[in-house]
Symmetry: C2
Subunit: 307 residues, 2 copies
């Protein structure tokens, strides 16, 4: 079968350089044929500053991958689909649920593939954790997702603005893992959102789900960072650490490796498969849980935050 | 075909007395066989204070209609479905999106009908408005939904608490009409939420949607109340007033009547049809737009509110 071929990357920031560009370079399926970015460029690749111009100039680029913050992403996604190209979206797939449903409908009407990616689901040990949990009875679950916003999003004010999702920008990765590995659907029972007095989006959140599952999300973690999912079951204790990359069963290493370098290659392999099959993959479950947290959450005003 | 038969009503408050009880009394399909409420009773109908007790004592009651606020509704809905009874839900169908999806799944597994009602969609002139708009090009739309919280929800603090949805409790009626009559899917672009300094949920909201459609929702309206939807199209002006009950085309009355007394009878007729057909009807679109408003909305702190 023919390789999916030429791909363009829109939004050349940290995540594009750290993950997307190396994943495409290592892929047997894809060639990075162009970039679109106001400031960023990748050496050896034709760089555009305007998306519509790139789409018009490079008709052989069949697929476009967007690495933009959620708010400006919709217009770009629409432009890609309107031009009849396949579309790959960084998480979260949009600023609102409605816009993702609109993109799905457009992709269907245009006969192209759309892939709303959840990179953490591709972490090394997620599939093994899912297999281990299947058939076991979960008695309690605890998610701890604590990272330093200054380290991972230096100066990115948009993340704490309305629509930026705040601590749910990383926290949605935990929710994408949970919704993948748990056999039952998750239901949010309560949410406490800590919002800095000078910001709109929460910098920390504590969530309670049905089935005695809770989550502690915090963007103010200095020093060691934690991305852990732990379950106590009727047949032992599972810990998924390092954002899904390391598995421990009853405290003993049981798989995975301490690296996230496999996540994006897996996403690009999956995108190639979707394009070959004429299929799409849009799962809104993690984003619906975030929307539920905003809908149901009690807001506490906390100390002002400055980068 | 056999009539759907005995129905129980859970939550005997204002909306149950004003709308549900008369609609059931007038229905050829239903007999009000029991009520469940801590304090409320309907004369001539057996009253229970505990739902599980009623479900156990009255096995011939095949359908249960819930008139409870969104937060306590889930446990009651689960109990109804677990007991293998058909379920009818007041709007909004839950406190979170996830819980509605869980109820849908339970109903499917139990082989019973679930109906997430949107009473405003049954207003007199909604269907006529939909027909009139179909094929016309909408140039601009304006929703004005202004009512007095003290008149319609006297002392109901829950409505302004976290999870109570605030002004979206009535506003979701407007969104249920919009999502019914518009040919295209609505996308929220921005939301401004006014939250009283002593409350958690917005008391007013201004929304901007794609396609030059905007909404002005306000719970602080004294004097005349307004529930209007207006569209300027390429072929005239449509106004749907009184919550969907009165239609005007280019300023001239074109149908409907100034009464909401037809909405609940239509819902109970539809529920009977769903039960007869072994079907369900759960449309999350209005609630997803509310969740989007909370997700994307900018919050402004406004004057404290007391009933």
């Amino acid at each position: 079968m023919a390789a999916p071929g030429q791909i363009a990357l829109v939004g050349i920031g940290k995540i594009a350089r750290d993950q997307h560009v190396p994943a495409i370079a290592a892929s047997p399926d894809w060639t990075l044929a162009a970039t679109v970015s106001r400031n960023g460029r990748i050496e050896g690749v034709e760089g555009f500053t305007d998306l519509d111009e790139m789409l018009a100039a490079r008709p052989k680029i069949g697929t476009v991958s967007l690495c933009l913050p959620p708010v400006p992403r919709f217009a770009a996604a629409q432009a890609v689909l309107r031009a009849g190209r396949h579309l790959m979206l960084e998480k979260p797939p949009g600023a609102t649920l409605a816009e993702v449903r609109i993109l799905e409908e457009m992709a269907r009407a245009q006969g192209v593939s759309i892939f709303a990616t959840w990179h953490s689901r591709e972490a090394e040990a997620v599939a093994a954790a899912k297999r281990w949990l299947s058939g076991r009875e979960i008695r309690e679950g605890r998610i701890t997702w604590r990272e330093d916003i200054r380290k991972w999003h230096p100066g990115q004010d948009w993340i704490l603005e309305a629509g930026g999702m705040g601590v749910f920008d990383p926290g949605i990765n935990a929710l994408s893992i949970l919704t993948e590995i748990l056999p039952q659907k998750l239901r949010l029972i309560s949410a406490d959102l800590d919002v800095p007095e000078n910001r709109q989006a929460p910098i920390a959140a504590r969530l309670e789900f049905g089935g005695r599952i809770s989550a502690d999300l915090d963007f103010r973690q200095e020093g060691p960072q934690t991305w852990d999912v732990e379950f106590q079951t009727d047949a032992g204790h599972l810990a998924l650490r390092m954002g899904g990359n390391v598995l421990e069963i009853d405290g003993t290493p049981a798989g995975g490796e301490n690296s996230i370098m496999g996540e994006y290659p897996a996403l690009y392999a999956r995108m190639a498969e979707l394009v070959r099959d004429g299929a799409s993959d849009v799962d809104l479950a993690p984003m619906m849980l975030v929307a539920d947290a905003f809908l149901l959450g009690r807001r506490n005003v906390v100390e002002a935050f400055a980068f």
